[in-house]
């Protein structure tokens, strides 16, 4: 065998010992990362050789991209969030004697929850087996925990909304409304764990921020819809919720889009980048208009629609960014390779300091 005698300058210790994939097409060759690829959307395209190169198997993804469909899943995320924050708004409005706000918020919550369930079921490969979701409760599965939140939440919000529409059982309506509000908080954020608890690099790495993005986005949506549909003299809380939500959504998204090196890149490029740019524009315009002119009805309708649109676009953008990061092996391999190298380096430093050979 010719092994052991690695050619000069390559060195058996070097990664790959000098081996390169033999077949030619550049797209299939050792991919070269561009300088600054982790920042500024890949501008400044000076190829960097060796050091930062990464290898893949014919450019194929390492992980399987989610089989979840768009628009089903992004809409399920959006509707669940809007319903969750509306349910909290509704219960508090009921408690503080704002009947018009309570009615609008409860109808939003009920409608959103039902539609959210419908989209979830539609996305299943075997919709007829939806109830298998409730076979077990597993805390390691956000989808399982989420189903156990979504099922009672949608039952309670539908009951509350129905009671509003029919004008029946005002006392029972208060109870179901409070029950829905208790579940409303988790409704807004569990879907963030649902996305983050995957091997999709751009979802998993942002697992600390994503629940706050979703919380803000849900408040913006719930607040936005209810402020647009509620008469001015009761819409004050909805306005505040919408504006606060928009600010949180905007701020947390900044961390997601810029705080995680290479895996933040898909949030700034391609279709996801465009969607999120539009989302930022809608969210900030809507929040600004709310603060400036929220007390005029037409402005309330426009700004409510804007923050809601921002929330929808954010969900679609996040979904798209995750899909893009799953489909390109770069986002899976490079961070893991860097992590492994750092660990090896730390290991051999330690070995050197204790006098043992690695």
């Amino acid at each position: 065998m010719t092994t052991g005698e690695a050619p000069e300058g390559v060195g058996a210790g070097a990664p790959g010992a000098g081996w390169r994939r033999a077949d030619g097409p550049p797209a299939q060759d050792r991919e070269q990362r561009r300088r600054g690829g982790g920042r500024r959307g890949g501008r400044g395209e000076i190829p960097m050789v060796d050091e930062a190169e990464f290898t893949s198997y014919y450019g194929r993804p390492v992980i399987k991209p989610p089989v979840w469909k768009t628009p089903d899943v992004p809409l399920y995320l959006f509707l669940g969030g809007a319903a969750g924050s509306s349910a909290v708004l509704g219960a508090l409005a009921e408690g503080t004697r704002r009947p018009a706000l309570a009615r609008v918020a409860h109808l939003t919550a009920g409608g959103g929850a039902l539609a959210s369930v419908a989209f979830l079921i539609h996305d299943l490969g075997r919709p007829s087996r939806f109830l298998n979701m409730l076979r077990v409760l597993k805390t390691t599965s956000p989808l399982s925990v989420g189903s156990w939140i979504l099922a009672p939440f949608s039952a309670l919000t539908t009951a509350t909304a129905g009671a509003h529409l029919l004008g029946w059982f005002p006392l029972l309506r208060r109870l179901t409304g409070v029950g829905a509000a208790v579940l409303g908080g988790p409704m807004t954020t569990y879907t963030a764990a649902l996305l983050a608890n995957t091997a999709v690099p751009s979802w998993h790495e942002v697992h600390r921020e994503l629940p706050f993005v979703f919380a803000g986005s849900a408040m913006a949506a719930g607040g936005g819809i209810t402020m647009a549909l509620t008469p001015l003299d009761e819409a004050g809380p909805a306005r505040k919720v919408a504006a606060l939500g928009a600010v949180i959504e905007f701020g947390a998204m900044q961390r997601v889009e810029h705080g995680h090196g290479l895996v933040s890149e898909p949030y700034r490029t391609g279709r996801a980048g465009k969607l999120l740019k539009a989302a930022r524009a809608c969210t900030s315009a809507g929040a600004g208009l709310t603060l400036v002119a929220g007390r005029s009805r037409p402005a309330a309708v426009v700004s409510g629609a804007l923050v809601t649109a921002g929330s929808v676009l954010t969900r679609f953008g996040i979904f798209d960014a995750g899909m893009a990061s799953a489909k390109d092996p770069k986002y899976t391999v490079e961070p893991q390779r860097a992590r492994a190298r750092a660990r090896d380096a730390a290991g051999s430093r330690e070995a050197a300091s204790t006098g043992t050979r690695p």
């Binding site: 058996a12 014919y58 399987k64 939806f130 298998n132 390691t140 954020t189 091997a199 706050f212 391999v333």
Partner: protein, 345 residues
């Protein structure tokens, strides 16, 4: 059998029994099987002797009656990838074994232009390596090394073929199993990870959860499928179909402990012989998935074969996620409540 028992770990953020991460000495017992459960089994796939015959792929398809498909998962279509001899492309719902083919070349430095010719190295190296017999490694493996059919040199280039039969890793901490909301995926008494097809509702959560991209959805069916480690054959005392079909015993099936010991020996032997790049992948029980039930001896970096270099089970970070989810939910309730304070309009 489901992971209900992991509630405490996920909620407290502490993980004393390594339920979410880290080595687990008895993964089967940990999941509630009685003390007399069978030993954990697995695969040691020694890619240094793989000849790329794809007998494993065929045997698996035959035994499990898997539909034919092309590299894109299109059922009943013959597709060529055009990339190499690999027309399976990847593991998927209908391909539970996948043989990767990587043709590599490298420059040989001109001061030694005659690498590979007799006598070029001043007689220091015998033309043929002496036969080395390792315990537990079949003679065919040693033969393969002597002749080294996977490598040749021409002019100033050296060429080699890397071939590796990939399969589900049957992880100690299996993300697919952790995230399955129906309990369709479960840990068998052999320590393997299997889908129960009559329960899977096709939610697809396991698909992006697997850090190796193994499990996938069958489009026309909606459910997910992957290697069962031939659960049906194991319960009848048979070897998995792929391992029995492998002519070079590149795929070795057995008790995981024994396989690990054999792999360590094999790695040491290859390193003694100066085989560069030889490494074990998935063998280390302190790695991100707590060690794989199916592990590999590779000759280059894992990503060359399409494997992730440092996979981590996604549920390792679940306590942090749930904490963020809880904090976010509390924030929503608190802020909405605060919006009701103050002026009435």
């Amino acid at each position: 059998m489901t992971a209900i028992s992991s509630a405490s770990a996920a909620f407290t953020g502490e993980d004393p029994g390594n339920r979410l991460f880290g080595p687990v000495p008895d993964v089967t017992g940990d999941r509630g099987y009685a003390d007399d459960h069978p030993a954990r089994v697995g695969f040691f796939t020694d890619t240094s002797v793989c000849i790329g015959c794809k007998a494993c792929e065929v045997a698996c398809k035959e035994w499990n009656l898997l539909p034919m498909d092309d590299a894109k998962g299109t059922v009943d279509a013959l597709g060529l990838t055009g990339a190499s001899y690999d027309n399976t492309g990847m593991l998927g719902a209908n391909s539970w074994r996948h043989v990767a083919f990587v043709e590599q070349s490298r420059a040989v430095d001109l001061p030694m232009p005659t690498v590979g010719l007799p006598g070029a190295d001043g007689g220091q190296r015998p033309l043929e390596d002496p036969p080395v017999v390792h315990p537990g490694v079949p003679a065919s493996a040693t033969t393969a090394e002597q002749t080294d059919p996977q490598r040749t040199s021409s002019g100033d280039r050296e060429i080699r073929w890397l071939m590796s039969s990939d399969v589900c890793k049957h992880c100690t901490h299996a993300a697919c199993l952790d995230v399955c909301p129906t309990g369709s995926l479960f840990r068998t008494e052999f320590g393997t990870v299997v889908v129960q097809e009559d329960i899977c509702n096709g939610c697809g959560y396991c698909v992006p959860a697997c850090p190796y991209g193994v499990i996938d959805q069958r489009q026309d069916d909606g459910r997910v499928f992957k290697c069962t480690l031939c659960y049906d054959r194991l319960t009848d005392g048979l070897q998995p179909a792929c391992a029995s079909a492998c002519p070079t015993e590149s795929i070795q099936f057995g008790d995981l402990d024994a396989l690990q010991a054999r792999a360590d020996e094999r790695l040491a032997a290859l390193q003694t012989k100066g085989v560069e790049g030889a490494r074990l992948y998935g063998r280390d029980e302190t790695d991100g998935v707590g060690g794989a039930g199916a592990f590999f001896l590779l000759l280059d970096e894992p990503e060359v074969y399409g494997l992730p270099p440092d996979p981590v089970v996604t549920t390792r970070d679940l306590p942090a996620m749930w904490r963020s989810v809880g904090a976010g939910a509390a924030m929503v309730v608190g802020l909405v409540a605060s919006a009701f304070v103050g002026r009435r309009r």
